[in-house]
C-alpha cells in the first residue's frame, strides 16, 4: 500500500512542477510587468527610463525568465508565496484569511448534498420506473440546467428580500462576534450550492444502487428471507456507496476553490471571490497562486480517490 502511495506521489509532483511552469509562462506572456501594475500611469509618465530600470532591477525583473521562475519556485517551496500586486499583502495572509470561509461553505454543501443525494438516489433506484423515480430524474436534470447564479439570485429575492427570513450574504457582519452569530448567513449560499450539487450525487447513487441491486448477492440475501429494508440498505446500499465515494472524492477540490460563482453571488468572502477579484485586477501573483492551489487540491483529491479505491479493490493495487 505504501509503495502504491509513494508511486502515485512521484507522478503527482512532476505534474505540479510542469503545471506551475506553464502557468508562470502564461502569465509572463501577458502584457505589462509588475512595475506597470504597481505604478499608476500618472506617476509613470513623470518617471525617467533610469528610474524604471532601477525599479525593475530592485524587483529582480531584469533577470531571465528561467531564473525568475527558479527564484519563485524556491520561495514557494520554502513557504514564501509572494505578495499580491494590489496592496502588497502577503499571499499567504490572504489565503489564510479566505480559506476558512470557503471551507465552511464547501463542507456544508458537500455534507448536505451527499446525504440528500444518496437518499433521493436510493429512493429513485428502489422505485425504478415509478412516477417518483421519473419525477426525481426530471428534477435532477432541471437542477443541473439552471445557471447557479440565477438560482442564487432567485433565492436571494425570495428568502432575503421578499420574506426577509435570512441575510443576503456576507459572512461576519459588524457586531457579530461569536462563531454561531453568522450561522444564518451560511444557510442561503450553503443550501443553493448544495442543491446544485445534489443532482449529480443523486444521479450517480441511483445508477450505482441499480447496479448493486442487480447483483447475485442480493438474490442470495432475498433467498435467505431477509427483510426488504435490510437487503436494500445493508446489502445493496453498502456496495453502491463505493462509486459515490469516488464522486465525492472528485468534488473535494471545491473545498479550495469553492463554487466561485456562488461565492460571488452571495458576497461570500472566500477564495473563489478573491480569485475573481484577482483576475479582474490582473493581480497575476495571486491568480497564479490560487490556480496552483486548486490544481494541488485536484491532484491530491485524485490521489485520495485512488488510494481509497485501492483499499476497497485489491485488483487496482496490483496493477
Amino acid at each position: 500500500m505504501l509503495t502504491f502511495v509513494i508511486r502515485r506521489l512521484l507522478v503527482t509532483i512532476p505534474m505540479l512542477l510542469v503545471i506551475s511552469f506553464l502557468v508562470y509562462l502564461g502569465l509572463e506572456l501577458t502584457p505589462g510587468d509588475a512595475v506597470s501594475h504597481m505604478i499608476d500611469p500618472e506617476s509613470a509618465s513623470r518617471m525617467s527610463e533610469e528610474e524604471f530600470a532601477a525599479l525593475r532591477e530592485a524587483l529582480g525583473l531584469n533577470k531571465s525568465f528561467i531564473q525568475r521562475y527558479g527564484i519563485w519556485l524556491t520561495n514557494v517551496v520554502q513557504g514564501n508565496f509572494g505578495h499580491s500586486l494590489s496592496g502588497g499583502v502577503a499571499i499567504s495572509t490572504i489565503v489564510f484569511d479566505r480559506l476558512p470561509a470557503t471551507l465552511e461553505l464547501s463542507v456544508f454543501a458537500l455534507v448536505f448534498s451527499t446525504i440528500f443525494g444518496c437518499i433521493l438516489g436510493t429512493i429513485s433506484a428502489l422505485h425504478r420506473g415509478s412516477t417518483t423515480d421519473s419525477s426525481l430524474t426530471v428534477f435532477g436534470m432541471i437542477g443541473v440546467s439552471i445557471p447557479e447564479f440565477f438560482f442564487g439570485l432567485v433565492a436571494i429575492l425570495i428568502f432575503a428580500l421578499h420574506f426577509d427570513w435570512l441575510p443576503v450574504g456576507g459572512r461576519l457582519l459588524p457586531g457579530y462576534t461569536s462563531y454561531f452569530d453568522h450561522l444564518p448567513n451560511i444557510i442561503l449560499p450553503g443550501l443553493v450550492l448544495s442543491m446544485m450539487m445534489t443532482a449529480g450525487v443523486m444521479r450517480y447513487s441511483r445508477s450505482a444502487m441499480l447496479d448493486s441491486l442487480s447483483r447475485e448477492f442480493i438474490r442470495t440475501a432475498r433467498s435467505k428471507g431477509l427483510p426488504d429494508w435490510r437487503i436494500n440498505l445493508v446489502h445493496g446500499f453498502r456496495v453502491a456507496l463505493t462509486p459515490v465515494v469516488v464522486l465525492i472524492g472528485f468534488r473535494l477540490p471545491t473545498l479550495i476553490g469553492g463554487s466561485v460563482i456562488i461565492e460571488e453571488v452571495f458576497q461570500w468572502p472566500g477564495i473563489g471571490s478573491e480569485f475573481i477579484e484577482a483576475v479582474r485586477g490582473a493581480d497575476y501573483p495571486l491568480v497564479m497562486f490560487i490556480a496552483l492551489l486548486s490544481v494541488f487540491a485536484v491532484l491530491m483529491a485524485s490521489l485520495i480517490v485512488d488510494v481509497l479505491t485501492a483499499l476497497i479493490d485489491p485488483r487496482v493495487r496490483l496493477n
Partner: protein, 304 residues
C-alpha cells in the same frame, strides 16, 4: 423453453408478419429509440424553437436589440415590448432573441470545435499508441488537473476577454474529456478482428482510424457534445455574469442577465432578468434531455 414451444412461438410470429401486423421497422434504430423517448422529443422541440427564434430574430421582432430609447426606460412588459425594456430603453425581447445567437454560437460552436480537436487527436493517437499517445495523454492530464472554472478564469486573465478568445478558452478546457473518451474507445476497438483484417489488406492507418473505427464511437461522442454544449452555455452565462465573459457591448444571455446583480433591478424589474434566466434554463434543459435520450438510445449497456 422446449423445442415444440419454440416452434409454436415462431409460428405465431410468422403469422403476425404475414398478417402485416409486425411491420419490418425502417430507419436508424438509435434514432427511432430517441424519438420514442418523450423527454428527448420535448427537448428536441424546445431546442428547435429557441434555436429558430434566435436565427429568425429579425422576423419575430421589429425592435433593434441595441437601439437606445430614452423615452421608454424600464417599461414593464406590454404589447409593444413583450419582455419590457431595460435601463436605456432597449427592448429586452429583442435582446434575448439576438443574445441567443451569440450564446448558442459560443456554446454549440465551442463544443463542436472541442469535439473536432479532442476526437481528432484521440482517434489517431489512441489507435497508433506509442510516444505520440503518451504525450497527448500527459497534455490532457495537465488541462484536466484544473477545476474547470479556475482554468477558464486563468485563461481569461492570460489571453484577455473577447468573443473569439472565449471560444478558444472553451475549446481548450473542453477538448480533454472528448479526447479521453475517444481514446478509451479506440483502445478497445483497435483490438477488433475487422481492424486486423483492414491492416492486413494494407489500408492506410489514417483511413482505418477515421473511416472504419471512428464511426463505431459516434454514440458516446454525440452524447458528450450535447452535454458539453449545455456546460458551455452555463459557463458563458456565468462568466458574463461575473463580467469576465463576452464583452458587455455584445448582447448574450449572460450579459442580459448580468443586470440582476443590482439588487434594485432584482427586486423591482423582474422582466429584465426573469425571462432570460428561464430561457437559458429551458435551453440547457432541452440540451440535457436530448443528451440523456441519446445516451439511452446509443449505449448498449443501458438497454432495457
Amino acid at each position: 423453453m422446449g423445442h415444440a414451444a419454440l416452434n409454436r412461438k415462431f409460428d405465431r410470429i410468422r403469422a403476425r408478419e404475414e398478417a402485416g401486423l409486425n411491420k419490418p421497422q425502417s430507419g436508424n434504430r438509435a434514432l427511432r429509440k430517441l424519438l420514442s423517448n418523450p423527454l428527448a422529443v420535448a427537448g428536441l422541440v424546445i431546442f428547435a424553437i429557441i434555436l429558430l427564434a434566435s436565427i429568425f430574430a429579425p422576423f419575430l421582432t421589429p425592435n433593434d436589440p441595441q437601439a437606445i430609447n430614452l423615452r421608454a426606460m424600464l417599461n414593464a412588459p406590454s404589447a409593444e415590448h413583450w419582455f419590457g425594456t431595460d435601463r436605456t430603453g432597449r427592448d429586452v425581447f429583442a435582446r434575448v432573441l439576438y443574445g441567443g445567437r451569440v450564446s448558442i454560437l459560443v456554446g454549440l460552436g465551442s463544443a463542436l470545435l472541442a469535439a473536432v480537436v479532442g476526437v481528432g487527436i484521440g482517434a489517431y493517437t489512441g489507435y497508433r499508441g506509442g510516444w505520440l499517445d503518451t504525450i497527448a495523454l500527459r497534455v490532457s492530464e495537465i488541462f484536466m488537473s484544473f477545476p474547470q472554472i479556475i482554468l477558464v478564469l486563468l485563461l481569461v486573465s492570460i489571453i484577455g476577454q473577447s468573443l473569439i478568445n472565449l471560444i478558444i478558452i472553451f475549446v481548450l478546457t473542453g477538448w480533454g474529456s472528448m479526447y479521453r473518451m475517444t481514446r478509451a474507445r479506440m483502445l478497445s476497438l483497435r483490438e477488433e478482428e475487422y481492424v486486423q483484417a483492414l491492416q492486413s489488406f494494407g489500408v492506410p492507418t489514417v483511413k482505418i482510424c477515421y473511416k472504419h473505427i471512428l464511426p463505431n464511437a459516434l454514440g458516446p461522442i454525440m452524447v458528450n457534445i450535447t452535454l458539453t454544449t449545455a456546460m458551455f452555455i452555463l459557463a458563458e452565462a456565468g462568466l458574463s455574469f461575473l463580467g469576465l465573459g463576452v464583452p458587455l457591448s455584445i448582447p448574450t444571455w449572460g450579459n442580459i442577465l448580468n443586470v440582476a446583480k443590482d439588487i434594485r433591478v432584482l427586486e423591482n424589474n423582474w422582466w429584465m432578468w426573469l425571462p432570460v434566466g428561464l430561457v437559458i434554463s429551458l435551453f440547457v434543459l432541452s440540451v440535457n434531455f436530448i443528451g440523456d435520450g441519446l445516451r439511452d438510445s446509443t449505449d448498449p449497456t443501458l438497454q432495457g
